[in-house]
């Protein structure tokens, strides 16, 4: 009888794949179903945003920041505007800060819906993804009422925001967050989060200890899923976040070990609930009168110097490091995103893991290609 050859296979989980979140490529070296190593190959969505920033004026770069994380455009816009405002010393009016918080938290809710829905879809649960997207449709309607766009919003401007609240927005938004917090999330948890198949697929998969998470510079829900209670909105408050009462959900090994994929998934579900609280408080307290924007000159120059501002975006902390030489264009703009660090940990997490678990790990880290590649 012939001997079976057993050797390692080198497989390509190519950029064109239904289970990778965008154009991401992995080279898998596997012994049957169990992987020895999965090496990420990134750069398929590299558009040279950092080089483009050096060629165009500050205000013109705002639409490009939409596309750094197109699922959470408002948050990316806000991070860039906050950096330029910090270095240039531009004051933002109070009403504009409220509008930024409202749109930013609504966008966080929508982004988490996609992140959680995509994880469930990759694991094979097709139904909850559609439910999550249906709720996100209300968000799309709201944000279209606000700024005219459903995906890449370009809503925040240097010095404020671009539009005020239209009539009917406040009632519709309050109805939306009430529906989410008191009806939809509990229903969704019954259907998906506490489903025994999902728990068995995600528990004890991709365990990241707090020390490893900090060493790889993981941030946002990935870091909080490992038990580290650190959120920039509370620990390094920016804008007007100190005025709102909300909690920080942290992974606690509910069904497995602290820092496994289930913790990262459940932290995102709980963050949706907390964001609903913030939106409700902000809508009720927002002043009716006030400017929404501080005018900046057309030939806007930023004084010489450097600054780094980081904000809590849905996929981690997004920071912009800006070096200015006193001109109308930046001298260097470095974009630091949460997904870039999350991608870098996948190679270490994938040793000795089955291919199906790799899909669960990538989904639970909520990696999107444009943030990785810029």
């Amino acid at each position: 009888m012939a001997e079976f050859r057993t050797e390692e296979m080198v497989l390509n989980m190519g950029p064109h794949h239904p289970s990778t979140h965008g154009v991401l490529r992995f080279i898998l070296i596997s012994d049957g179903e169990v992987m020895r190593k999965a090496m990420p190959d990134i750069g398929f969505l590299h558009r040279g945003l950092e080089k483009i920033a050096e060629l165009i004026p500050y205000q013109s770069f705002m639409p490009y920041t939409d596309r750094i994380d197109y699922l959470a455009s408002v948050n990316s816009n806000w991070a860039y505007a906050a950096t330029v405002e910090k270095l240039a010393g531009v004051e933002v009016p109070e009403k504009a800060e409220y509008l930024r918080v409202i749109s930013g938290e609504l966008t966080r809710i929508a982004s988490h819906f996609i992140g959680v829905g995509a994880l469930l879809l990759d694991l094979g649960a097709v139904t909850p993804f559609v439910h999550a997207l249906r709720e996100r449709e209300t968000y799309n309607d709201l944000i279209e009422m606000l700024c005219g766009a459903r995906l890449t919003h370009n809503y925040v401007r240097i010095g404020g925001v671009s539009h005020g609240l239209p009539d009917g927005f406040k009632e519709k938004a309050l109805k939306f967050v009430d529906h989410l917090e008191y009806e939809f999330l509990d229903e969704f948890n019954e259907l998906a989060s506490f489903n025994s198949i999902l728990i068995n697929r995600l528990r004890n998969v991709g365990i990241i200890t707090p020390e490893t998470a900090i060493d790889y510079s993981l941030t946002g829900p990935n870091l909080r899923g490992s038990g580290v209670k650190f959120d920039l909105r509370k620990d390094e408050p920016y804008s007007i976040y100190e005025r709102f009462a909300f909690d920080i959900p942290v992974g606690n090994g509910m069904f497995g070990t602290v820092g496994d994929s289930y913790d990262r998934y459940f932290v995102r579900m709980e963050e949706i609930r907390q964001s609903c609280r913030i939106v409700r408080q902000a809508l009720n307290r927002m002043p009716d009168e006030g400017d929404i924007r501080t005018r900046i000159p057309k030939a806007f120059k930023v004084p010489e110097g450097e600054a780094y501002v980081r904000t809590e975006c849905p996929r981690g902390e997004m920071g912009f490091y800006l070096v200015s030489s006193g001109d109308r264009k930046p001298s260097r703009l470095k974009i630091r995103t949460g997904s870039f660090s999350a991608m870098s940990i996948i190679e270490e997490l994938s040793r000795g893991v089955m291919v199906a678990d790799l899909v669960a790990i990538i989904g639970s880290l909520d990696v999107v290609a444009p943030e990785v590649d810029r």
Binding site: G43, E50, K51, L87, E306, R332, R374
Partner: protein, 143 residues
């Protein structure tokens, strides 16, 4: 030493002392700058610079370390043994600026294709005419 907003106390050190400085900042009790917030390169005209920006959860403060090397032969010792996050950050800095990190376990291009020529974020970068034999400007189909 300066303190730009968001970077904390910023010091410039010689490139050879970078790993020691970072290790001291990371491991000393009472400092514990364990999170590498970001690492990047800078084009300073005739020299190339690197910036490492660190954060300490324990004392809630930041510190940044800078170094600069000549443009003709930019070599900086790698920090990937100290911070695992520095691995990919340094690969990106190499990809964009051409700064070589001595002691890095796998220094190769990360965002651009492996056969790309030139280092885009340098100020004297010349935009290529085409890639893979196909020109960007196609007068025959789009005058």
């Amino acid at each position: 030493m300066t303190e730009p907003p968001g970077l904390g106390l910023t010091v410039e050190v010689g490139p050879e002392s970078l790993p020691d400085a970072l290790a001291i900042l990371k491991e000393t009790e009472g400092l514990k700058f364990v999170q590498l917030m970001f690492q990047t390169g800078l084009d300073l005209g005739d020299r190339l610079g690197v910036v490492y920006s660190l954060y300490s959860f324990e004392i809630n403060s930041k510190v940044s370390v800078k170094a600069s090397v000549p443009k003709e032969d930019p070599v900086v010792p790698s920090a990937c043994m100290i911070y695992k996050a520095a691995d990919w950050f340094e690969r990106e800095t190499y990809d964009m600026f051409g700064i070589r990190f001595a002691g890095h376990r796998d220094l190769r291009r990360i965002l651009l294709p492996d056969d790309w020529e030139g280092f885009p974020l340098r100020k004297d970068y010349v935009f290529p005419e085409g890639y893979g034999g196909i020109k960007h400007e196609r007068e025959d189909i789009c005058p």
